[in-house]
């Protein structure tokens, strides 16, 4: 018995030792080979990382990349998408093995650039005469830190007002806060409410801009924040608006599609969703209502370069092509997202999103943004909506948490 097992057991020891030794020597030969391999062949491989999107979007991106590779035969693009994107990228940054080019969402931008993982691009742009003028200013600002550009926006969407005419009861499409309130008071929606609102500052902040605010969480104690929060929460408290979860939906797009609400405020992502999920729904798009002024949020993502990239020249070639006129045109051709360049026209029917670019402000680009937004601001907003806290207490807690 004992002898029968002795063989396999010793074999196990040998295997472990061999595995450790070979792993070590593999790493050493890899290190030795690195520069040699690059020198031998003229083709540079650039890694590109993003997150997993819808299949149609993924297919389109692969087409865009293939088009780049055709026009740049000396660069090969190695594209990879991840589900837990933030977590994966932080691990890669930390191990100093990041991809050469990567998506950065404006919500992560300030934290990542502050910790020195992104490459400033100004000198590359200057050298290759890549102009930032065609980009919408509000979007480019989302990827500027202390005056330097660390990414060019790859696409974006703002919010618009989606209206279901069948549920409006003949009321006109509201253009101002006051009209929105008075119209909502006259609408009756069976099994729902006139308006859908989410307990999420990624919507409420648009109203803060409409009230004349600056959109910075650290200014949450200002009058504009108070006005916007009171109006927004007031619609919910007075029964003119509902949370999506209260009408059996996980977000307002679903509530709108299920015809539980007549009005919702969502972005360009809603259009494809409604077409696929509720193909028979008829609705129209209108600009966000006007408060003291016009105001809207821009949700945007950049192509950025990692500071620890080993192929910066080739990475810039890819990045500037993707965010350049040719790449942008191809990527936004199916309307999944809006072009960030004024010299590329969006597909038809997107007027409500792009009508007032000067009043559209980037969402994100604040330090510790995700923490302040999801953990502090949204939890406090939920407490206010559920009647457990006052608007003023919420605002002072948010201001205290933001730095």
């Amino acid at each position: 018995m004992r002898k029968r097992f002795a063989g396999p057991a010793l074999l196990a020891v040998v295997v472990v030792v061999a595995a450790i030794l070979s792993a070590g020597s593999q790493a050493m030969t890899d290190r030795g080979k690195g520069p040699e391999r690059v020198a031998k062949s003229a083709v540079t491989t650039v890694s590109l990382n993003g997150w997993v999107g819808a299949k149609v979007e993924d297919d389109l991106l692969k087409e865009v990349i293939a088009a780049f590779e055709r026009s740049h035969p000396n660069i090969k693009v190695n594209y990879d998408a991840f589900n837990n994107y933030q977590t994966t990228m932080l691990a890669k940054f930390s191990a100093r093995k990041p991809p050469d080019v990567l998506y950065v969402v404006a919500e992560d931008f300030a934290d990542w650039v502050r910790q020195g993982v992104l490459q400033p691009l100004d000198s590359y742009a200057k050298k290759s005469k890549f102009k930032s003028k065609p980009f919408y200013g509000g979007l480019l600002n989302s990827f500027k830190y202390k005056g330097k550009i660390y990414g060019y926006p790859k696409d974006w969407s703002s919010l618009a007002m989606e209206v279901n005419p069948a549920l409006m009861g003949g009321q006109p499409v509201p253009k101002t806060w006051a009209q929105l309130r008075s119209v909502a008071q006259k609408i009756k929606v069976a099994g729902g409410k006139p308006i859908c609102l989410q307990a999420d500052w990624a919507r409420l902040m648009a109203w803060v801009y409409q009230a004349g605010g600056n959109g910075q969480f650290k200014s949450a104690n200002s009058a504009a924040f108070r006005t916007a929060a009171n109006f927004y929460v007031g619609l919910l408290r007075d029964g003119l608006a509902t949370l999506p979860t209260d009408v059996g939906a996980s977000w307002c797009g679903e509530a709108f599609g299920k015809e539980k609400v007549a009005i919702a405020f969502e972005g360009n992502w809603m259009l494809g969703y409604l077409k696929d999920t509720f193909p028979n729904l008829r609705y129209s798009l209108a600009p966000m209502p006007k408060g003291k002024t016009r105001g809207n949020l821009a949700f945007t993502v950049s192509y950025s370069m990692a500071k620890d990239s080993k192929n910066k020249a080739a990475a810039w070639t890819l990045l500037s092509w993707l965010t350049g006129k040719t790449g942008m045109k191809k990527w936004t051709s199916l309307g999944f997202a809006l072009p960030t360049r004024s010299d590329v026209k969006p597909v038809a029917g997107r007027g409500a999103f792009v009508k007032y670019p000067q009043f559209t402000h980037g969402w994100g680009n604040q330090v510790d943004f995700r923490h302040v937004w999801t953990e502090v601001a949204n939890n406090e907003l939920t407490a206010v909506v559920q009647g457990k806290e006052s608007v003023n207490d919420m605002l002072s807690k948010i201001a205290a948490a933001a730095h």
Binding site: T87, H371, V372
Partner: protein
């Protein structure tokens, strides 16, 4: 002389036999031990090392015990994350144990379709927690299955259970007690079958009823089983993460009601400013706490284990 040589040979043979035995022993444990050292002991040590630095994405300056001091004064951690985790543990552990024991006693009887029931009760433990929570989100939605069922009974609940501060955590507790009960049942079933049948026969001869037999014989003789199940389920409960993550995202919402210690740890490392040093501190505090609780449980149940 010849005798001496022979015995010496025997000793040498014995010696090589023992060496062989030792080698075989080490050979057997080498692989698991290597895994244990590389994937458990080393990370714990390294986490401690990280926790003494102002470590964000990259290593920062050495700051001694500052992370620990900050955690001591961190009101969100204590008032929400720790509190929710303890409440969750206090409810889910007894529920799991009671449910697991009842199921084990039932499927230990000579009933029809016993194997089917064993498999059926164990099944939820096999499904991924993410899938179960996602399905539960529909069942517990405002117009979901549960609310319409309650409506038919004349009790009108119109809110989604996961969206309300006072029902979100209890919903997760109920859900997890159900999913993990199958595993607990399996553990209890093993210890139930370790109880010798003579004891039951003696009790039957003495005229003990079913309830009395359970209370006076089965339950006390299950003490080693109780210990094991309690330890496993407390450790699992203190590490609750995925259900909260799916219900409220990184927010731990609504209004912090599903924020747990591990979700808080995850957030400090991956949401907002990446503070790996501070997150490691949270992890170590949780480790020390779980270690202490397990030791206390061992002391409480210790004697029974020997018996």
């Amino acid at each position: 002389m010849a005798v001496a040589v022979a015995s010496e040979k025997k000793v040498r043979a014995l010696g090589s036999e023992r060496l062989r035995e030792a080698l075989v022993g080490y050979g057997f444990i080498a692989l698991p031990m290597a895994f244990f050292l590389v994937f458990f002991i080393f990370p714990i040590g390294y986490a401690f090392y990280i926790s003494r630095y102002d470590w964000e994405i990259f290593k920062g300056p050495f700051i001694g015990w500052d992370n620990y001091r900050e955690l001591y004064h961190d009101s969100v951690f204590w008032r929400h994350a720790v509190r929710n985790t303890l409440v969750y543990t206090a409810f889910v552990v007894p529920l799991q144990m009671a449910l697991g024991l009842s199921l084990a006693v039932v499927v230990n009887q000579a009933i029809r379709f016993r194997t089917f029931f064993r498999a059926a009760f164990y099944f939820p433990s096999l499904a991924s927690s993410a899938a179960i929570v996602s399905i539960a989100t529909y069942i517990l939605a405002s117009d979901g299955l549960l609310n319409s069922f309650l409506g038919n009974l004349g009790y009108h609940h119109t809110k989604a259970w996961f969206s309300q501060e006072n029902t979100a955590l209890p919903s997760i507790i109920g859900l997890n007690a159900w999913t993990t009960a199958g595993t607990m049942m399996l553990f209890y079933l093993a210890s139930l079958q370790a109880i010798p049948t003579e004891v039951y026969e003696a009790a039957a001869i003495d005229g003990a009823g079913a309830w009395r037999t359970f209370r006076k014989i089965t339950f006390p003789l299950l003490k080693p089983g109780h210990f094991f199940v309690a330890v496993v389920s407390v450790i699992g409960a203190l590490q609750m993460f995925d259900q909260s993550f799916i219900v409220g995202g990184t927010s731990g919402g609504p209004n912090y009601s599903t924020m747990t210690v591990v979700l808080y740890l995850f957030n400090r490392a991956f949401s907002g400013t990446a503070r790996f040093g501070y997150a490691a501190t949270v992890g170590l505090v949780l480790f020390v706490f779980i270690f202490a609780v397990t030791l206390i449980q061992r002391l409480l149940f210790g004697k029974a284990e020997v018996a």
